[in-house]
Symmetry: C2
Subunit: 237 residues, 2 copies
């Protein structure tokens, strides 16, 4: 299964910036139910869990480590679209009836990043459960809606704003998502990958924000020092 290493340098993490994870959002009784059904599997760094168009016959959520979801490009091979950390789910659609009566297929490839433990449940053990108890779907819908809301703003910013304003908007968005938490575990390089901007541009903007006392930068962290001021610097009314 160790087919290739993911594109470390090009990888662009998503959804790990304060967004709620399925397993954290799910109510306690349903968590217990899923834990009882799940088998834990451990993947080494760089293992491929599945490929696009594989039949989707399990859903899973990440216990520890991370999974990279991506597709294959003509030039660079595997290309990461999103990175999911602990509590985040994937493949839940495998347990829903397919409209055409056929099998549900994976849309993206999944590759482990570092040693990763995944809880997996066969789809046929879940379909009855999901059809009887709306709590599972409520939790899926809740986290998917949060991802969509974030991505809608990121996309809209990407297509209309200059780099500096995109960085400020992004930081303010993340700050709002994290609520009371003020420390973001994230390097300058992560921001540059996430937004598809050069490291130089990101470094310059973060440095200017630091000098104004809006954020402070630690080792692998960004701390929000003045969220009010940060928001005032966005282009939002």
């Amino acid at each position: 299964m160790l087919l290739h290493k993911p594109d470390r340098e090009l990888q662009k993490p998503l959804f790990d910036f304060g967004l709620p994870a399925f397993f954290d959002v799910l109510a306690e009784p349903q968590r217990v139910e899923l834990k009882n059904l799940a088998r834990q599997k451990t993947y080494r760094d760089g293992e491929t869990l599945h490929q696009p168009t594989d039949v989707a016959d399990t859903m899973g959520w990440i216990e520890s480590g991370a999974l990279l979801f991506g597709k294959y490009l003509q030039e660079e091979g595997f290309h990461t679209l999103a990175r999911l950390g602990p509590g985040h789910h994937f493949g839940e659609f495998s347990a829903f009836p397919n409209r055409d009566g056929g099998k549900n297929l994976r849309r993206l490839a999944a590759v482990s990043e570092g040693r990763t433990i995944v809880n997996e449940i066969p789809a046929d053990e879940l379909s009855g459960l999901f059809a009887r108890d709306p709590e599972y779907l409520r939790a899926f819908h809740f986290v998917t809606t949060a991802r969509l809301a974030l991505l809608l703003e990121l996309y809209d910013d990407a297509r209309r704003l200059p780099a500096r304003q995109r960085i400020i908007n992004f930081l303010s968005l993340v700050d709002r998502l994290m609520q009371e938490k003020r420390l973001l575990n994230c390097t300058q390089s992560d921001v540059s990958k996430m937004l598809g901007l050069s490291k130089v541009t990101v470094n310059q903007t973060l440095k200017a924000l630091t000098e104004r006392g809006v954020i402070s930068i630690g080792y692998g962290t960004i701390k929000f020092q003045d969220a009010e001021r940060l928001h005032a610097m966005t282009d939002r009314a």
Copy 2:
């Protein structure tokens, strides 16, 4: 309620490109149930249905016409993030319990585009229904997941690809979404707004694709003539 006209020139339609709508995805018995609960309201062009941070106390779906969802920017005022047409829903979260025990608030403003008929149901009439019968949540989750998948690809393309390749990738994505249907009701201007690219760039690329026999352009339509070739021109493997 006629507060302002939306930014027609800057409006960037989203989600009307072959993506499934909630009311079309929902099973027949549940459609009947919702229709029985709904009151129809007609909005004139440019009416504001709600503002951000208004209490969200109804969900709705569009019967005819369209709604623009957006936020307010310091410079331009109302700014459209997404445009939803017939069958698409909004505000379903109003019927779910809020985690903090408070009221659910609107995140975006909604403004009618042209004469628009909306089916509206008070949230408190829905919360019981949604908590008992998973079919509603299945349909919400299905359409939200489809939107997220489209947006993830659009965003990833926007942050890493040149304009011409983004246009080709976008057309190929839309072609796959529409399945057997080969005619897209969409102007060159729509494509330019959707991708945030200049009309000149879009026109040049569409013209080149037309000369190669990949698409043909009609009055307000783009027809896919050679989907195989179009896909081969994307950067996807």
